[in-house]
Symmetry: C2
Subunit: 139 residues, 2 copies
């Protein structure tokens, strides 16, 4: 793994580490000020502050004991300053509306990163749940 | 709208036009040879040919009479040669496993495009269904 791939992958690892500490300030600091984020149900947040507030909200409730694992990450560099990092993830310990723990879930997270003055930051994330056994939804 | 935004948006419009003609060769031609695509249930296709084959499969069945509408597209240029285009979309006329038409569905499509020799091509797509009234899934 070359240095650029290592550095971009480290940001994705830090995403999961901050998630698992439920430290949404550290989480938000991985993002550029004007970053955007679309979550698994199509909520679209614009700006690092909106990303922080939204994740603080869910981490006070359904995600408060959740654990996110990055299963694998593949990184491409369409140009030198941009990385496209796609990760398979799994999550355990998230809660349903009744407070009961839900089964493990899996998904694919896309992060687009930009390097500025030697430092990588996430400029765009989009997340998609994996639904096994179907070609699309609803089915 | 400046010229670069117009050109990138035109690729997204062409995506929907090819979809609605169910012309998956034209659809695939919007993508770079090494493009990747993650669909709404987390299927991950690598390369323009895999993207074409997968969409031919679904357009022979559940999507054969479907109509995709791009509701809005916002384009950002993190560097000159890269565009991040995010589109809200709606779809009608897709079929369930029993062949009956399903209700309208909505989603958010991310396309990352690269400009090469004056021409924009999609290098990465990730698609997410909108689920109304929830913060995440499953709930």
């Amino acid at each position: 793994m070359n240095l650029q791939t290592e550095q971009a992958s480290a940001i994705v690892s830090a995403f999961a580490q901050a998630w698992n500490r439920h430290d949404m300030a550290a989480f938000a600091d991985l993002f550029a000020a004007d970053a955007e984020f679309v979550n698994v149900v199509g909520l679209w947040w614009k700006g690092k502050e909106a990303i922080r507030v939204a994740h603080e909200f869910t981490h006070a409730a359904m995600f408060k004991d959740s654990r996110l694992s990055i299963v694998s990450t593949e990184v491409r560099f369409p140009v030198e300053e941009i990385a496209i990092a796609r990760s398979r993830w799994s999550m355990e310990g998230h809660l349903g509306p009744d407070g009961a723990a839900l089964p493990q879930r899996n998904g694919i997270l896309l992060n687009v990163l930009r390097r500025s003055e030697g430092t990588w930051a996430i400029i765009d994330s989009q997340n998609t749940d994996i639904v096994e056994g179907v070609a699309s939804r609803p089915q």
